[in-house]
Symmetry: C5
Subunit: 335 residues, 5 copies
C-alpha cells in the first residue's frame, strides 16, 4: 500500500513508459503511411472512433470498479482478521485460566497469521507483480515474505514438534487452527474449561476459518480471465484506430499555417494520439495492478504490517515488554 | 475457471468465429445493395447509429455487471461452503468424542458435497454450455460430474443402506443433511453429546442448508429472460444498422483516392463494421458465458476442485495419510 | 419466472404491440405535417435530441437497475425461506421428541407458507399485472393462488378450530407463527422441551418473521412513484421529439435518389423512428414488468413452486411417501 | 409514500411550476438579447453544452442513486423494526410468564415506537418538506405526528409516573428501552425469569437499539451538503447555458420558412429549452424530495402506518379484540 | 459535518478560488499564443476534447462514488458504535449487579471512545485537511481533539493508575478494552457474574473491537493512491486541453460581430473554459474532501458530537443529573 501523499508524475511515467513507446509507434504508423507513402484514404470516420472510445471508457470503468472492489474486499477481510485476533487475545487470556496455555494459543495464532500471509504472497501466473514494470519497482520496497523462508518465521511461534508436523501438511493455516482446536479440547477434557467456554472458543476458530477461506479464494480465484481479455481488446483496438481517426483533422491544420511547417502538420498527431491513448492504457494498468491484492505489488493490502501490529498488541496484552518493532514504510510503500 | 495468464486471442477468435461469419454477412449486405444494385439512398444518419450505439453499450454494460455478480456470488457461496466444511471437520472431531461417528459424519459430508455438485452441474435449457461455441471447447478440459455417475461417487462415502435410500429421494443433498441430524440426535439420545453440543451441531447443519439453498437458487433461477432478450435485441439491431450508418462516410473516401481502387472504397466498410460489431457481440458472449456459474463451461466456479480440496483437508484432520490427489487444471481450465 | 431458453421475438412483439401502434402514430405525425401540410421548419436540432437520448438511456438504465434489484432481493428472501424451512423441518423432527407435535408444527408451517404467498399474490393498484399487455399473457400460464380460495388451501394444513381462528385475523401469517410459538411454549411447560430447546425454536420463528416482513414490505412498498413517473416522462418525451429531430436528415436523402421515390424519402423516417423508440419503450416495459416480483406476472419469483418444493422435502423428512407432485412450468412459465 | 398508480402529470406540473417560471425566464433572456438588442454573437458552441449536459446527467444520476438508496435503507430499517416488534410480542407473551408484565412490556414497546417516530418527524433545516412546492402539497395528506402532541400519544402506553420521567429525558426512545431492561431485570431478580431468558430478552433490546440508532442517523446525518450543492451548480449552470447553445440552430430555421414568421424563429427556442431544462430540474427535485425519508413529505417511509400495524398485530397477539383502525391513505398518500 | 441548509455559493467560490486562478491562466495561455503571437494552428479537434471530457466525467464519477461510500461507511461504523454503546450501558447496569463496577465500566467506555476519536483525528500525510483551502476554513469551526490534549480528556474517565498505564501503550483503545475484559473476568472470578453473563459481556467487547478495527482501517488505509493520481491526471489534462479545443469556435464568432470587438472574440474563451473546467475541478475537490472522513475537515463524520451524545445518554442511564452539554454546531459545522 502506498501511504504517501501521492505517486509522483515522474514515477508514473517511468512505470508506464513501455506502453508509451508502443503508443508512439502506433501514432507514427498511420502518419508514415499517409505522409511518406502517400496513402491518403487512411481515414477512419471519427464517429466510429468516438463510439469505440465511449464504449472503451465504459468497459475500463467497469473493470476498474471490479478490481477496486477486490482490493476493498481484501482490506475488509484483513480488518476482520485484525479484529478477531484482538478478540482471540482476550479470549485466550481471560477465558483460559492458565498462563502457559494462553501463551501457546496466542503464539500459535501468530503462526497462523504467518502461514496465511506466506500463502497469500506466493506467485500466481495471472498476477501482474512479475510484469517488467512492476518487477523493477520492487527494488523500492521490501516484501518480508520473499526475504525470510517460512520455516524460520514459523519456528518463532511453534514448538519444534508442531513445526515439523505443520511443514508436512498441505494447507498449513487450516492445520494450525486444527491444533488450536485440539488444545482447547484437551483443556476441556482436563476440565480446565467448561463446555460453554469450549464452544465459545470453537466459534472463534470458526470465524477465523471464514476469513482464511475468503483470503484464499481472493488469492486463487483471479479476476475472470474472460473479462480481463475483452477489456484488453477494447483498449488496444481503440489505441490502434485512434490515430487513423484523427489524421484528417490534423491534415486540415495545413490550411491555416504558413512557412516551413506547412504541409507537415499531420506529424502533430503523434503527441496527441499518444496522450489520449496513454490515459486509457494507464487506466487499464492501474486497474490491473489493483486486481490482485496479495501479489507483492506496491498496491497490496499491507498484510505483513497488520500481522506485525497484531503481534505487538497481543504481546502487550500478555504483559510482555520486549516487543518487536512495527514495520515501517520504505519509500512510502508498506506491505 | 480459467487459471492461466489469459485467454489467447486465437482461442477467442475461434470461440467467436460463428458470429464473425454472420457479422461479415451483415457488413456485405448493404455494400452489395449500394454498389451492385445501386441503391444509393441506403444511408441511415449517423447520429441515430451513435445514439443506438451508446444505448447498446449501456445495456450490455448493465448485463455484464449482473452476470459478473452472479459468478461472484456463486464464488462467495462456495467460499462459505469451504469454510463451513472446515468448521464441520473440527466440530465432528472435537465435539463428538467417538472416532467412528466422527468419520461417519465427515464422510457423509463428502457425500453432501458430491450430491450438491452433481445437482449443480446438471443441464438447464437456458444455459449456454451446450451452445456450439462452448460445446466444442469442452474437449480441452474435463467435467468430473459428467464422467462418473453419481451413485459410484456417492458409494465412496455412504454405507450401502444409506446410499440406496438417498438415491430414491428427490433432493439428495437435503436428505443427506437429514441423516446427519438423525445421527447427531441419536448421539444425544445415547448421551454421548450434551444438549449444548447437539444444538451447536444443528446450527452448523443450518448454515450448510443456507449455502445449499443459495447454490440451488443460483442454478435454478436463470438471469431473468426478459433482460436477456432485450440485451440481445439491442446488440443485434445495432450490428445490423451499423454498416448502413457508415456507408456514406466510406463512399466519401473515393474523393481522395486515385487509380484502380477509386470508386470501390465502400467495400472497406466490411472489415470496420465487422470489427466494431464484433467487439459488441463478444462482450455479449462473454457476459452470457459468465451468467450461469455451474453449467460446465470454462468459466464455472471450480466446485469439483474445491470439493476435492475439502476432502483432502478433512481427511488430513482425521489423521489419514492416503489422500486423494488434488484436481489439476487441464489447459489452464479447472472445474 | 420464465424458465425457457428465451422469450421469442414474436412473443415480445405481441407483448409490446400496443406501444408500437402509438409509436408509429408519433412517427407519422411530423411527417404528415411536413409533407402534407408543408410545415418545413419542423426541425429540432439533432444535438438536442442526442442529449435527451443519452439522458433517457441513463434514467432508464437507473430504473432497470433498481427494478432488477427488487426481483433479485425477492429471490433472495425466498431462498432464505427455503433454507429456513428445511432447518425448521429438522428442528421439529429432531429437537421435538414427539411425532404428533412434529407433524403439527410442520403442517402449520405449510399453512404459514400458504398464507404468505396468498397475501403476496393479492392485487395492488400500482402493479402492472393487470395492464392489458400482461393480462392477455396470463392465459399462457397458471397462478395457483388465483385458482383456489385461501381457506380451502389452509384447510389442508390446519385443524378446523385453528382455521376458523386464523381466518378472522388481520395478518394471517403472523398469527400462524403466534400459534407455533404457543405450541412450543406448551411443550416447554409440559417439560417436553428444555429451556435451551425452547429458545432455539423461538429464534427459528424470529428468523421466519424477518423474511415474512421483508416479503410483505417488498409487496406493499412500491418502486417509488416519483421515480417511476419521471422515467415515463423521459421515455415518452424522447419518443415524441425523436422523429422531429430526424426529419431533415431523411429529407436530404431526396438529393441522392431518382425516380418515383424522389421527394418522398421523408416517409422512410417512420420505420426508423419507430424502431429506435421501440427499443426504449420496450426497455421501460421490461423494467416495469420486473418491478413487482409478487404480482402474478410471468416474471414473478416462483413462490408457489418453491412452497410446493418445501412441502415435498419436509414430508419426505417426516417419512411420508404419498407426496404431492412438483409444480411444472406451463409454456415455460412457472409461478 | 405514494401508494397510487402514479403521480399525475398535472400534479407534477403544479409541483414543479415555480421552476418552470424561472426556466422560461432563462429561455427568454438570450432570445431578447439576440432579437431585441441585436447581440448576435451570443452563441456558445454546442459541443460545450453537450459536454456539460452529459456531465450533468452523470452527476444527477449519481445523486439520485444515492438519495434512492437512502430511502431504500430507511425502508429496510423499518422492515426490521416491524419484524423485531413481532418477535418482541412473542418473546413477551411466551418467555415472560405473567400476563400483566407481558402487557406492560408490549405497551411500552408502542411507546418506544411513538417516541421514535415523533423524533424522526421533527423538522431539520436541510430538509425540503418546508420548501414551498412541498409545503403546499401537504394539505392533501395528513402527518399524524404533526397533529397530536407527543405526550398525549405516549400517555396511551405509559403509566403516569413513567410518562413524567420520560418527558424529562433527552433521548426518549433510549430511556424507554432502559425501562424495558429494568423491568426485565426485576423479573429476573424476582426469579420469574431464568438467566437464559433474561439474556435472550436483553439481546432483543440490543437489536432494537441498532435499528433506533440507524433511524436516528438517517435523520440527523443529511445527504452530504458538499455533494448536494455541486449537484445544484451543475444543473443550473446547464439550464442557464443551454439556451445560449441552441440560439444559432433556431436562427437557421429562418432560412426554410416563409411569411410572417420568417425572422422570428428564434423565439421557438424558449419552449424547447424550457422542456429540456425542466427534465433536468425535475429529476433534481425528485431526488431532493427522496433524500430525507422521515421529513413529512409525500415520499416518506410510512412509519406512522407501520407503527399502527404493529400495534394492531401485537394487540391481536395479546388476545385483545378492540383494535384501533389501520391508517388509510389520503389522496393515495400514506405516512 | 455540515448541518446547515447548504454551503453558500460564496463560500464555495472562496474555497475553490486557488484553482480558479490557475484555470484562468490555463485559459489565457492558448489565447495569448493565438492572438498575440499569431500561432493560428493551435487547434485541437473538438471530438478529441469531447472524448476526453466524457472519459473524465466517468473517472471523476467513479472516484466520487468511492469517496462517498467511504464517508457513508464511516457513518455506519459510528452508528454501530452509538448503538453498541447504548447496549453496553444496559449490560453494565443490568447484568453487573454492583453500582461501583457499573460506573467504572461505563466511564472506561467513555475513555475508549476518547482514545479512539483522538486516534482518528490525528494527521495523515495523504489527508487534505491541511491543504490551504481546507486549513483556512478551519477557523470557522472547532475540532475538540485538536484543542485539549488526550491525557486531560482521559483523566476524566480513568483512575490515575490506569491512565498512567494506558498512556504508555501503543494502541490505547485496544488496551482499554483489555482492561474492561480484565475487570469482567475478576467479577466472574469473585462470582459476582455467572459464566453466561461473563461470556455475554465478552461478546459485547468483541463487537466493539470490530467497529474499532473498521474505524482504524478507514483512517489508515487511504483511498488507493494509484486511483487518486489517475483521477487528477484526467482532470488536469482535460482542463489544459479544453481551451485549445474551443479556440476555433470562438474565433468564428468574429464573423458575426461588428465594430470594436470584431477580431477579439477569442478572448471570450477564457470565462467559458474557466467555467467548464471549474465544474470538473470542483467536483474533484469535493470528492477529495470527502475521502477521509476522520481528518478534521468540515465534511467529517461528527465523532466528537456522537461521543458526547453517548456520554449524556449513558450518564442519564446511570441516574446522573449533572450532564455535560451537547456539542453544538459552529457556523453549521459540527465535528
Amino acid at each position: 500500500m502506498h501511504t504517501g501523499k501521492s505517486y509522483k508524475l515522474s514515477e508514473f511515467l517511468v512505470w508506464t513508459r513501455r506502453k508509451v513507446y508502443l503508443l508512439v509507434a502506433l501514432g507514427f504508423f498511420p502518419v508514415i503511411l499517409y505522409e511518406v507513402f502517400g496513402i491518403k484514404w487512411l481515414d477512419i470516420p471519427w464517429p466510429v472512433i468516438a463510439l469505440l472510445g465511449t464504449s472503451t471508457a465504459f468497459i475500463v470503468g467497469f473493470t476498474n470498479t471490479q478490481t477496486y472492489r477486490r482490493t476493498e474486499e481484501a482490506q475488509q477481510i484483513w480488518t476482520n482478521i485484525l479484529s478477531l485476533s484482538r478478540s482471540w487475545g482476550l479470549i485466550c487470556r481471560d477465558l483460559v485460566d492458565d498462563a502457559n496455555h494462553t501463551k501457546t494459543l496466542i503464539y500459535r495464532h501468530f503462526a497462523w497469521l504467518t502461514a496465511l500471509r506466506y500463502h497469500l504472497r506466493e506467485h500466481r501466473v495471472w498476477e501482474s507483480a512479475n510484469k517488467k514494470h512492476n518487477a523493477e519497482y520492487q527494488q523500492y520496497y521490501s516484501i518480508p515474505e520473499w526475504e525470510t523462508p517460512l520455516d524460520i518465521e514459523l519456528a518463532k511461534y511453534l514448538s519444534a514438534k508442531e513445526l515439523k508436523y505443520i511443514l508436512t501438511t498441505d494447507n498449513k493455516a487450516t492445520q494450525i487452527l486444527g491444533l488450536q482446536s485440539k488444545t482447547v479440547k484437551s483443556l476441556y477434557n482436563k476440565e480446565k474449561l467448561v463446555l460453554i467456554q469450549f464452544i465459545e472458543i470453537e466459534r472463534a476458530i470458526r470465524d477465523l476459518f471464514l476469513q482464511q477461506a475468503k483470503s484464499e479464494q481472493m488469492k486463487d480465484a483471479p479476476y475472470p480471465r474472460q473479462y480481463a481479455i475483452i477489456n484488453t481488446f477494447f483498449v488496444w483496438l481503440f489505441c490502434t484506430l485512434l490515430p487513423f481517426g484523427m489524421i484528417k483533422d490534423f491534415d486540415k491544420l495545413n490550411e491555416v499555417v504558413e512557412g516551413a511547417i506547412k504541409g507537415h502538420m499531420v506529424w502533430l498527431l503523434v503527441p496527441f494520439s499518444t496522450l489520449i491513448s496513454w490515459m486509457f492504457t494507464s487506466l487499464e494498468q492501474v486497474g490491473e495492478s489493483t486486481e490482485n491484492p496479495f501479489e507483492g505489488s506496491a498496491n497490496d493490502v499491507p498484510i505483513s504490517q497488520m500481522s506485525r501490529a497484531i503481534e505487538i498488541e497481543l504481546r502487550e496484552l500478555l504483559g510482555e515488554t520486549e516487543l518487536p518493532p512495527a514495520l515501517e514504510p520504505k519509500n512510502d510503500i508498506i506491505l
